[in-house]
Protein backbone atom coordinates (compact mmCIF):
# COMPACT_ATOMS: atom_id res chain seq x y z
CA UNK A 1 0.00 0.00 0.00
CA UNK A 2 1.57 3.30 -1.02
CA UNK A 3 1.02 6.57 0.78
CA UNK A 4 1.61 9.87 -0.91
CA UNK A 5 3.35 11.67 1.90
CA UNK A 6 5.56 9.30 3.84
CA UNK A 7 6.59 5.72 4.28
CA UNK A 8 4.52 3.75 6.69
CA UNK A 9 5.96 1.08 8.93
CA UNK A 10 3.08 -1.37 9.03
CA UNK A 11 -0.28 -1.41 7.27
CA UNK A 12 -3.38 -3.54 7.46
CA UNK A 13 -6.46 -3.78 5.28
CA UNK A 14 -8.26 -0.49 4.84
CA UNK A 15 -11.31 -1.55 6.86
CA UNK A 16 -9.10 -2.47 9.81
CA UNK A 17 -7.52 0.96 9.72
CA UNK A 18 -10.91 2.62 9.53
CA UNK A 19 -12.17 0.60 12.50
CA UNK A 20 -9.14 1.29 14.65
CA UNK A 21 -9.08 4.99 13.81
CA UNK A 22 -12.74 5.12 14.86
CA UNK A 23 -11.91 3.34 18.11
CA UNK A 24 -9.06 5.75 18.88
CA UNK A 25 -11.17 8.76 17.95
CA UNK A 26 -14.18 7.71 19.98
CA UNK A 27 -12.05 6.50 22.88
CA UNK A 28 -10.17 9.75 23.19
CA UNK A 29 -13.31 11.79 22.67
CA UNK A 30 -14.83 9.83 25.48
CA UNK A 31 -11.88 10.73 27.67
CA UNK A 32 -11.85 14.45 26.87
CA UNK A 33 -15.17 15.36 28.56
CA UNK A 34 -14.11 13.34 31.58
CA UNK A 35 -10.90 15.37 31.62
CA UNK A 36 -12.85 18.62 31.81
CA UNK A 37 -14.66 17.51 34.93
CA UNK A 38 -11.53 15.83 36.29
CA UNK A 39 -9.64 19.08 35.95
CA UNK A 40 -12.27 21.04 37.83
CA UNK A 41 -12.51 18.41 40.55
CA UNK A 42 -8.74 18.10 40.90
CA UNK A 43 -8.24 21.85 41.06
CA UNK A 44 -10.93 21.88 43.70
CA UNK A 45 -8.97 19.33 45.72
CA UNK A 46 -5.83 21.39 45.30
CA UNK A 47 -7.73 24.27 46.87
CA UNK A 48 -9.33 22.39 49.78
CA UNK A 49 -12.74 22.11 48.11
CA UNK A 50 -14.72 19.46 46.24
CA UNK A 51 -15.24 20.92 42.79
CA UNK A 52 -18.42 20.13 40.85
CA UNK A 53 -20.38 17.34 42.55
CA UNK A 54 -24.01 18.18 41.91
CA UNK A 55 -24.75 16.94 38.40
CA UNK A 56 -25.15 13.18 38.39
CA UNK A 57 -23.19 10.84 40.67
CA UNK A 58 -20.24 12.78 42.18
CA UNK A 59 -20.63 15.38 39.45
CA UNK A 60 -19.71 13.07 36.60
CA UNK A 61 -22.52 14.33 34.37
CA UNK A 62 -21.14 17.88 34.56
CA UNK A 63 -19.58 17.80 31.05
CA UNK A 64 -22.94 16.74 29.64
CA UNK A 65 -24.59 19.71 31.27
CA UNK A 66 -21.81 21.98 30.02
CA UNK A 67 -22.11 20.73 26.47
CA UNK A 68 -25.90 21.05 26.48
CA UNK A 69 -25.54 24.57 27.77
CA UNK A 70 -22.92 25.51 25.19
CA UNK A 71 -24.87 23.92 22.36
CA UNK A 72 -27.92 25.88 23.41
CA UNK A 73 -26.10 29.21 23.20
CA UNK A 74 -26.04 31.48 20.22
CA UNK A 75 -23.05 31.12 17.91
CA UNK A 76 -22.38 34.80 18.04
CA UNK A 77 -20.31 36.53 15.37
CA UNK A 78 -19.29 40.18 15.65
CA UNK A 79 -20.03 42.56 12.79
CA UNK A 80 -16.33 43.28 12.22
CA UNK A 81 -15.43 39.59 11.90
CA UNK A 82 -14.38 37.86 8.72
CA UNK A 83 -17.14 35.25 8.48
CA UNK A 84 -15.38 32.39 6.71
CA UNK A 85 -12.16 32.51 8.72
CA UNK A 86 -14.11 33.10 11.91
CA UNK A 87 -16.04 29.90 11.31
CA UNK A 88 -13.13 27.78 10.14
CA UNK A 89 -10.67 28.68 12.92
CA UNK A 90 -12.14 26.42 15.62
CA UNK A 91 -12.37 23.62 13.07
CA UNK A 92 -8.64 23.92 12.36
CA UNK A 93 -7.80 23.66 16.04
CA UNK A 94 -9.96 20.59 16.57
CA UNK A 95 -8.76 19.02 13.32
CA UNK A 96 -5.08 19.35 14.13
CA UNK A 97 -5.64 17.89 17.56
CA UNK A 98 -7.52 14.88 16.23
CA UNK A 99 -5.05 14.26 13.42
CA UNK A 100 -2.15 14.12 15.84
CA UNK A 101 -3.95 11.33 17.69
CA UNK A 102 -3.30 9.11 14.68
CA UNK A 103 0.40 8.71 15.43
CA UNK A 104 0.15 8.08 19.17
CA UNK A 105 1.17 4.43 19.59
CA UNK A 106 -0.99 2.58 22.12
CA UNK A 107 0.89 -0.67 21.55
CA UNK A 108 2.94 -2.59 19.03
CA UNK A 109 1.63 -4.91 16.33
CA UNK A 110 -0.49 -7.55 18.06
CA UNK A 111 -2.30 -10.36 16.19
CA UNK A 112 -1.60 -8.56 12.94
CA UNK A 113 -3.06 -5.28 14.10
CA UNK A 114 -0.91 -2.31 15.01
CA UNK A 115 -2.33 -0.65 18.09
CA UNK A 116 -1.94 2.85 16.68
CA UNK A 117 -3.59 4.95 14.02
CA UNK A 118 -0.70 4.90 11.63
CA UNK A 119 3.03 4.32 12.01
CA UNK A 120 4.50 7.01 9.78
CA UNK A 121 8.26 7.10 9.35
CA UNK A 122 8.23 10.86 10.03
CA UNK A 123 6.31 10.70 13.31
CA UNK A 124 8.09 13.63 14.98
CA UNK A 125 7.71 15.89 11.98
CA UNK A 126 4.05 14.92 11.73
CA UNK A 127 3.52 15.94 15.33
CA UNK A 128 5.21 19.29 14.80
CA UNK A 129 3.48 19.94 11.51
CA UNK A 130 0.03 19.60 13.02
CA UNK A 131 1.06 21.21 16.28
CA UNK A 132 2.02 24.31 14.30
CA UNK A 133 -1.15 24.08 12.27
CA UNK A 134 -3.23 24.33 15.39
CA UNK A 135 -1.68 27.73 16.02
CA UNK A 136 -3.15 28.89 12.74
CA UNK A 137 -6.49 28.18 14.31
CA UNK A 138 -5.69 30.48 17.20
CA UNK A 139 -4.13 33.14 14.98
CA UNK A 140 -7.02 33.17 12.52
CA UNK A 141 -9.49 33.23 15.37
CA UNK A 142 -7.80 36.22 16.91
CA UNK A 143 -7.38 38.09 13.69
CA UNK A 144 -10.74 37.38 12.11
CA UNK A 145 -12.71 38.25 15.24
CA UNK A 146 -12.13 41.94 14.64
CA UNK A 147 -11.63 42.57 18.33
CA UNK A 148 -8.59 43.98 20.07
CA UNK A 149 -8.61 41.43 22.86
CA UNK A 150 -8.70 38.56 20.42
CA UNK A 151 -5.99 40.18 18.36
CA UNK A 152 -3.71 40.61 21.37
CA UNK A 153 -4.32 37.01 22.32
CA UNK A 154 -3.44 35.88 18.83
CA UNK A 155 -0.26 37.95 18.80
CA UNK A 156 0.74 36.45 22.10
CA UNK A 157 0.12 32.93 20.89
CA UNK A 158 2.18 33.59 17.75
CA UNK A 159 5.12 34.88 19.78
CA UNK A 160 4.77 32.00 22.19
CA UNK A 161 4.79 29.52 19.33
CA UNK A 162 8.05 30.71 17.81
CA UNK A 163 9.68 30.95 21.22
CA UNK A 164 8.85 27.47 22.38
CA UNK A 165 8.49 25.28 19.35
CA UNK A 166 12.23 25.44 18.68
CA UNK A 167 13.11 24.26 22.18
CA UNK A 168 10.44 21.60 21.95
CA UNK A 169 11.90 20.29 18.70
CA UNK A 170 15.42 20.30 20.10
CA UNK A 171 14.22 18.46 23.20
CA UNK A 172 12.80 15.68 21.04
CA UNK A 173 15.86 15.71 18.81
CA UNK A 174 17.97 14.20 21.58
CA UNK A 175 15.64 11.20 21.77
CA UNK A 176 15.53 10.92 18.00
CA UNK A 177 19.32 10.82 17.86
CA UNK A 178 19.46 8.13 20.53
CA UNK A 179 16.85 6.04 18.74
CA UNK A 180 18.02 6.77 15.21
CA UNK A 181 14.46 6.89 13.94
CA UNK A 182 11.61 9.37 13.64
CA UNK A 183 8.97 6.67 13.91
CA UNK A 184 7.15 6.73 17.22
CA UNK A 185 6.94 2.94 17.50
CA UNK A 186 10.71 2.58 17.12
CA UNK A 187 11.16 5.31 19.71
CA UNK A 188 9.10 3.29 22.19
CA UNK A 189 10.84 0.05 21.29
CA UNK A 190 14.18 1.75 21.85
CA UNK A 191 13.20 2.24 25.50
CA UNK A 192 13.00 -1.45 26.32
CA UNK A 193 15.75 -1.40 28.93
CA UNK A 194 15.63 2.08 30.35
CA UNK A 195 13.15 4.84 29.69
CA UNK A 196 14.45 7.89 27.88
CA UNK A 197 13.58 10.07 30.84
CA UNK A 198 16.74 8.83 32.57
CA UNK A 199 19.38 9.74 29.97
CA UNK A 200 17.32 12.61 28.57
CA UNK A 201 16.09 14.19 31.81
CA UNK A 202 16.99 17.66 30.55
CA UNK A 203 15.14 17.01 27.32
CA UNK A 204 12.12 15.76 29.26
CA UNK A 205 11.97 18.86 31.46
CA UNK A 206 12.34 21.14 28.44
CA UNK A 207 9.67 19.23 26.57
CA UNK A 208 7.28 19.47 29.49
CA UNK A 209 7.79 23.22 29.90
CA UNK A 210 7.45 23.76 26.16
CA UNK A 211 4.41 21.50 26.25
CA UNK A 212 2.71 23.82 28.73
CA UNK A 213 3.41 26.67 26.34
CA UNK A 214 2.29 24.65 23.31
CA UNK A 215 -1.05 23.78 24.86
CA UNK A 216 -1.55 27.31 26.26
CA UNK A 217 -1.87 25.93 29.73
CA UNK A 218 -0.96 27.65 32.96
CA UNK A 219 1.59 29.07 33.67
CA UNK A 220 1.88 29.90 29.97
CA UNK A 221 -1.77 30.66 29.29
CA UNK A 222 -1.01 34.18 28.13
CA UNK A 223 -2.98 33.87 24.89
CA UNK A 224 -6.08 33.15 26.98
CA UNK A 225 -5.27 35.20 30.06
CA UNK A 226 -8.82 35.43 31.27
CA UNK A 227 -7.93 38.20 33.69
CA UNK A 228 -6.48 40.73 31.27
CA UNK A 229 -7.51 39.54 27.80
CA UNK A 230 -10.88 37.98 28.66
CA UNK A 231 -10.01 34.61 27.08
CA UNK A 232 -7.86 36.16 24.33
CA UNK A 233 -8.47 34.72 20.90
CA UNK A 234 -11.82 33.19 21.91
CA UNK A 235 -13.32 36.37 23.33
CA UNK A 236 -15.79 36.77 20.50
CA UNK A 237 -16.77 33.14 20.20
CA UNK A 238 -19.97 31.76 21.57
CA UNK A 239 -21.89 28.52 21.66
CA UNK A 240 -20.33 25.32 20.40
CA UNK A 241 -17.55 27.19 18.59
CA UNK A 242 -16.35 28.35 21.96
CA UNK A 243 -16.93 24.83 23.22
CA UNK A 244 -14.75 23.41 20.49
CA UNK A 245 -11.85 25.56 21.70
CA UNK A 246 -12.29 24.16 25.17
CA UNK A 247 -12.47 20.67 23.74
CA UNK A 248 -9.36 21.30 21.66
CA UNK A 249 -7.46 22.51 24.71
CA UNK A 250 -8.06 19.24 26.54
CA UNK A 251 -7.44 17.23 23.40
CA UNK A 252 -4.10 18.96 22.90
CA UNK A 253 -3.23 18.41 26.51
CA UNK A 254 -3.89 14.69 26.00
CA UNK A 255 -1.88 14.62 22.78
CA UNK A 256 1.13 16.45 24.21
CA UNK A 257 1.07 14.19 27.27
CA UNK A 258 0.85 11.19 24.96
CA UNK A 259 3.85 12.38 22.97
CA UNK A 260 5.81 13.00 26.17
CA UNK A 261 4.97 9.48 27.35
CA UNK A 262 5.96 8.03 24.00
CA UNK A 263 9.27 9.80 23.84
CA UNK A 264 10.37 9.85 27.46
CA UNK A 265 8.27 7.56 29.65
CA UNK A 266 8.46 4.30 27.76
CA UNK A 267 5.21 4.59 25.82
CA UNK A 268 3.12 1.46 26.11
CA UNK A 269 5.80 -0.48 27.96
CA UNK A 270 5.03 -1.78 31.39
CA UNK A 271 4.76 -5.04 33.29
CA UNK A 272 1.99 -7.47 32.39
CA UNK A 273 0.72 -9.25 29.29
CA UNK A 274 0.63 -7.64 25.87
CA UNK A 275 -3.03 -6.67 25.98
CA UNK A 276 -2.22 -4.33 28.86
CA UNK A 277 -0.08 -2.14 26.59
CA UNK A 278 -2.83 0.35 25.63
CA UNK A 279 -3.88 0.50 29.28
CA UNK A 280 -0.33 1.41 30.29
CA UNK A 281 -0.14 4.02 27.58
CA UNK A 282 -3.43 5.64 28.57
CA UNK A 283 -2.63 5.42 32.27
CA UNK A 284 0.74 7.12 31.84
CA UNK A 285 -0.78 9.76 29.60
CA UNK A 286 -3.57 10.50 32.05
CA UNK A 287 -1.16 10.80 34.95
CA UNK A 288 0.81 13.34 32.94
CA UNK A 289 -2.46 15.18 32.28
CA UNK A 290 -2.98 15.20 36.03
CA UNK A 291 0.45 16.74 36.33
CA UNK A 292 -0.63 19.46 33.89
CA UNK A 293 -3.61 20.16 36.15
CA UNK A 294 -1.44 20.10 39.25
CA UNK A 295 0.86 22.70 37.72
CA UNK A 296 -2.12 24.81 36.73
CA UNK A 297 -3.34 24.76 40.31
CA UNK A 298 0.10 25.79 41.54
CA UNK A 299 1.78 28.36 39.34
CA UNK A 300 0.60 31.88 38.54
CA UNK A 301 0.68 33.14 34.98
CA UNK A 302 4.03 34.44 33.79
CA UNK A 303 4.51 38.02 32.71
CA UNK A 304 5.09 38.40 29.02
CA UNK A 305 8.77 39.40 29.23
CA UNK A 306 9.37 36.54 31.65
CA UNK A 307 7.86 34.14 29.14
CA UNK A 308 10.13 35.42 26.39
CA UNK A 309 13.20 35.49 28.64
CA UNK A 310 12.58 31.93 29.77
CA UNK A 311 12.07 30.76 26.21
CA UNK A 312 15.06 32.40 24.61
CA UNK A 313 17.56 32.76 27.45
CA UNK A 314 17.05 29.52 29.34
CA UNK A 315 15.18 26.92 27.33
CA UNK A 316 16.84 27.40 23.95
CA UNK A 317 20.48 27.35 25.17
CA UNK A 318 19.70 24.45 27.46
CA UNK A 319 18.02 22.48 24.69
CA UNK A 320 20.87 23.20 22.29
CA UNK A 321 23.46 22.08 24.85
CA UNK A 322 21.42 18.96 25.50
CA UNK A 323 21.34 18.13 21.80
CA UNK A 324 25.07 18.78 21.43
CA UNK A 325 25.92 16.61 24.42
CA UNK A 326 23.65 13.83 23.16
CA UNK A 327 25.20 14.07 19.71
CA UNK A 328 28.70 13.75 21.12
CA UNK A 329 27.77 10.80 23.33
CA UNK A 330 25.87 9.01 20.57
CA UNK A 331 28.77 9.47 18.15
CA UNK A 332 31.42 8.35 20.61
CA UNK A 333 29.66 5.23 21.87
Amino acid sequence: MSFPLADVGYTEAVWVMVVKSLIIFLGVFGIVPVLTVAERKLIGRFQNRYGPNRVGPVGLMQPLADIVKLAGKEMFRPEAAVPFLFAIAPAIVIFSGIVTLAILPFGNVQDGIGLYGIDVSIGVLYFFAFGSLSFYGLLLAGWSSGSKYSFLGAMRSAAQLISYEVSMGLALLGVVMMTGSLSLTSVVEGQGEVWNVVPQIVGFLIFMVAGFAETNRAPFDLPEADAELVQGYMTEYGGMRFGSYLLAEYLEMFVVSGIAVTFFLGGWQGPGPGWLDPVWMVAKTLSLVCFFIWVRATLPRLRYDQLMALGWKVMLPLATLNVLATAVIVTVS
Partner: protein, 192 residues
Amino acid sequence: MQARLNTEKADWSAFPYLENAEDVISVQRGPKPGGVGGAYRAFGETLRGLRTTFARVIEGPVTIQYPEEKTPVYQRFRGRHKLHRFEDSGLEKCVGCSLCAAACPADCIRVVAAENDPDHRISAGERYAEVYEINLSRCIFCGYCEVACPFDAITMGHDYEMSDYNRSDLIFTKEMLLAEPIDRTPLRSEGE
Protein backbone atom coordinates in the same frame (compact mmCIF):
# COMPACT_ATOMS: atom_id res chain seq x y z
CA MET B 1 13.25 57.90 63.86
CA GLN B 2 12.99 54.35 65.05
CA ALA B 3 12.02 52.66 61.79
CA ARG B 4 15.55 51.74 60.87
CA LEU B 5 16.44 48.28 59.71
CA ASN B 6 20.00 46.99 60.01
CA THR B 7 21.67 50.33 59.35
CA GLU B 8 24.93 48.74 60.40
CA LYS B 9 25.08 46.54 57.34
CA ALA B 10 24.16 49.23 54.84
CA ASP B 11 26.89 50.91 52.82
CA TRP B 12 26.44 54.65 53.33
CA SER B 13 29.42 55.71 51.22
CA ALA B 14 27.09 55.77 48.22
CA PHE B 15 25.10 58.55 49.89
CA PRO B 16 27.66 61.19 50.91
CA TYR B 17 24.99 63.90 51.07
CA LEU B 18 23.36 62.12 53.96
CA GLU B 19 25.28 63.46 56.90
CA ASN B 20 23.43 61.39 59.34
CA ALA B 21 21.61 58.37 58.04
CA GLU B 22 18.92 58.52 60.68
CA ASP B 23 16.02 58.91 58.28
CA VAL B 24 17.11 56.32 55.75
CA ILE B 25 15.54 52.92 55.85
CA SER B 26 17.68 50.22 54.37
CA VAL B 27 15.68 47.35 53.03
CA GLN B 28 16.94 43.83 52.74
CA ARG B 29 16.09 42.48 49.32
CA GLY B 30 16.01 38.96 47.96
CA PRO B 31 18.52 37.80 45.39
CA LYS B 32 18.12 39.34 41.97
CA PRO B 33 16.17 37.31 39.43
CA GLY B 34 17.76 35.96 36.31
CA GLY B 35 20.96 34.12 35.63
CA VAL B 36 21.83 30.58 36.51
CA GLY B 37 21.14 31.16 40.19
CA GLY B 38 17.76 32.62 39.33
CA ALA B 39 16.86 29.61 37.20
CA TYR B 40 17.97 27.28 39.98
CA ARG B 41 15.92 29.15 42.57
CA ALA B 42 12.92 29.31 40.26
CA PHE B 43 13.08 25.54 39.81
CA GLY B 44 13.32 25.01 43.56
CA GLU B 45 10.47 27.37 44.24
CA THR B 46 8.36 25.63 41.62
CA LEU B 47 8.87 22.33 43.39
CA ARG B 48 8.02 24.00 46.69
CA GLY B 49 4.82 25.34 45.15
CA LEU B 50 3.90 21.91 43.84
CA ARG B 51 4.44 20.47 47.31
CA THR B 52 2.26 23.18 48.82
CA THR B 53 -0.68 22.46 46.54
CA PHE B 54 -0.29 18.72 46.97
CA ALA B 55 -0.43 19.14 50.73
CA ARG B 56 -3.88 20.69 50.20
CA VAL B 57 -5.01 17.48 48.50
CA ILE B 58 -3.88 15.47 51.49
CA GLU B 59 -5.61 17.86 53.87
CA GLY B 60 -8.87 17.23 52.08
CA PRO B 61 -11.75 19.58 51.38
CA VAL B 62 -13.09 21.84 54.09
CA THR B 63 -16.30 22.62 52.22
CA ILE B 64 -19.58 22.31 54.09
CA GLN B 65 -22.07 20.89 51.59
CA TYR B 66 -24.68 23.42 52.56
CA PRO B 67 -28.17 22.12 51.97
CA GLU B 68 -27.18 18.70 53.28
CA GLU B 69 -24.73 19.81 55.95
CA LYS B 70 -25.19 22.95 57.99
CA THR B 71 -22.82 25.00 60.02
CA PRO B 72 -23.96 24.72 63.63
CA VAL B 73 -24.95 28.05 65.15
CA TYR B 74 -24.11 29.35 68.59
CA GLN B 75 -26.63 29.39 71.39
CA ARG B 76 -26.65 33.19 71.24
CA PHE B 77 -27.35 33.21 67.48
CA ARG B 78 -30.23 35.53 66.61
CA GLY B 79 -32.42 33.81 64.07
CA ARG B 80 -36.15 33.77 63.46
CA HIS B 81 -38.33 34.91 66.39
CA LYS B 82 -40.39 32.58 68.53
CA LEU B 83 -43.41 33.42 70.68
CA HIS B 84 -43.82 31.38 73.82
CA ARG B 85 -46.59 29.91 75.94
CA PHE B 86 -46.54 28.96 79.59
CA GLU B 87 -45.71 25.31 79.72
CA ASP B 88 -48.15 24.43 82.52
CA SER B 89 -51.25 26.39 81.55
CA GLY B 90 -50.66 26.71 77.83
CA LEU B 91 -51.47 30.43 77.96
CA GLU B 92 -49.58 32.84 75.74
CA LYS B 93 -46.92 34.81 77.50
CA CYS B 94 -47.50 37.85 75.33
CA VAL B 95 -49.83 40.39 76.92
CA GLY B 96 -49.93 42.73 73.94
CA CYS B 97 -48.00 45.58 75.57
CA SER B 98 -46.32 46.58 72.28
CA LEU B 99 -42.98 47.26 73.95
CA CYS B 100 -41.32 45.10 71.32
CA ALA B 101 -42.89 47.18 68.57
CA ALA B 102 -41.70 50.30 70.31
CA ALA B 103 -38.18 48.96 70.64
CA CYS B 104 -37.99 47.72 67.07
CA PRO B 105 -35.65 49.97 65.05
CA ALA B 106 -36.87 48.54 61.77
CA ASP B 107 -40.50 49.02 62.70
CA CYS B 108 -41.40 45.53 61.58
CA ILE B 109 -43.58 44.38 64.48
CA ARG B 110 -47.28 45.07 64.54
CA VAL B 111 -49.24 44.33 67.71
CA VAL B 112 -52.97 44.85 68.19
CA ALA B 113 -54.00 44.15 71.76
CA ALA B 114 -57.41 43.02 72.96
CA GLU B 115 -59.03 42.41 76.37
CA ASN B 116 -58.92 38.87 77.64
CA ASP B 117 -62.27 37.15 78.05
CA PRO B 118 -62.09 35.67 81.60
CA ASP B 119 -63.85 32.50 80.42
CA HIS B 120 -61.45 31.88 77.56
CA ARG B 121 -58.15 33.30 78.61
CA ILE B 122 -55.62 33.54 75.87
CA SER B 123 -52.78 35.17 77.78
CA ALA B 124 -51.93 35.33 81.43
CA GLY B 125 -52.34 39.07 81.73
CA GLU B 126 -55.27 41.45 81.37
CA ARG B 127 -54.87 41.78 77.68
CA TYR B 128 -53.50 39.64 74.91
CA ALA B 129 -52.15 40.19 71.40
CA GLU B 130 -55.01 39.80 68.98
CA VAL B 131 -52.66 40.44 66.10
CA TYR B 132 -48.97 39.85 66.34
CA GLU B 133 -47.11 40.13 63.07
CA ILE B 134 -43.43 40.36 62.28
CA ASN B 135 -42.43 41.42 58.80
CA LEU B 136 -39.28 39.35 58.39
CA SER B 137 -38.32 41.10 55.17
CA ARG B 138 -37.78 44.25 57.25
CA CYS B 139 -36.43 42.67 60.43
CA ILE B 140 -32.73 43.28 61.02
CA PHE B 141 -32.43 40.58 63.72
CA CYS B 142 -31.06 42.98 66.30
CA GLY B 143 -32.82 41.25 69.18
CA TYR B 144 -34.13 44.45 70.78
CA CYS B 145 -37.65 42.98 70.89
CA GLU B 146 -36.34 40.14 72.99
CA VAL B 147 -34.64 42.59 75.33
CA ALA B 148 -37.68 44.84 75.55
CA CYS B 149 -40.17 42.10 76.37
CA PRO B 150 -41.03 42.14 80.08
CA PHE B 151 -42.44 38.60 80.03
CA ASP B 152 -39.89 36.76 77.85
CA ALA B 153 -42.74 36.14 75.47
CA ILE B 154 -40.64 36.69 72.36
CA THR B 155 -37.15 35.29 71.87
CA MET B 156 -34.85 34.95 68.94
CA GLY B 157 -34.63 31.37 67.70
CA HIS B 158 -31.87 29.74 65.69
CA ASP B 159 -33.57 29.35 62.34
CA TYR B 160 -31.93 31.28 59.53
CA GLU B 161 -33.47 29.62 56.47
CA MET B 162 -36.29 32.03 55.75
CA SER B 163 -36.05 32.66 52.01
CA ASP B 164 -39.33 32.76 50.22
CA TYR B 165 -40.76 33.67 46.85
CA ASN B 166 -43.16 36.37 48.00
CA ARG B 167 -42.77 39.29 50.30
CA SER B 168 -46.21 38.63 51.72
CA ASP B 169 -45.06 35.15 52.75
CA LEU B 170 -42.43 36.76 54.93
CA ILE B 171 -44.99 38.42 57.19
CA PHE B 172 -45.14 35.92 60.02
CA THR B 173 -48.37 35.83 61.98
CA LYS B 174 -48.84 34.97 65.62
CA GLU B 175 -49.80 31.38 64.83
CA MET B 176 -46.63 30.87 62.80
CA LEU B 177 -44.47 32.38 65.51
CA LEU B 178 -46.15 30.34 68.23
CA ALA B 179 -45.94 27.07 66.33
CA GLU B 180 -43.25 24.69 67.42
CA PRO B 181 -40.57 25.44 64.80
CA ILE B 182 -39.21 22.66 62.66
CA ASP B 183 -35.70 22.11 64.01
CA ARG B 184 -33.72 22.92 60.92
CA THR B 185 -30.58 24.40 62.40
CA PRO B 186 -27.93 22.39 64.24
CA LEU B 187 -26.76 23.93 67.47
CA ARG B 188 -23.12 24.31 68.29
CA SER B 189 -22.24 22.35 71.40
CA GLU B 190 -20.36 23.95 74.27
CA GLY B 191 -16.77 24.76 73.46
CA GLU B 192 -17.04 23.90 69.76
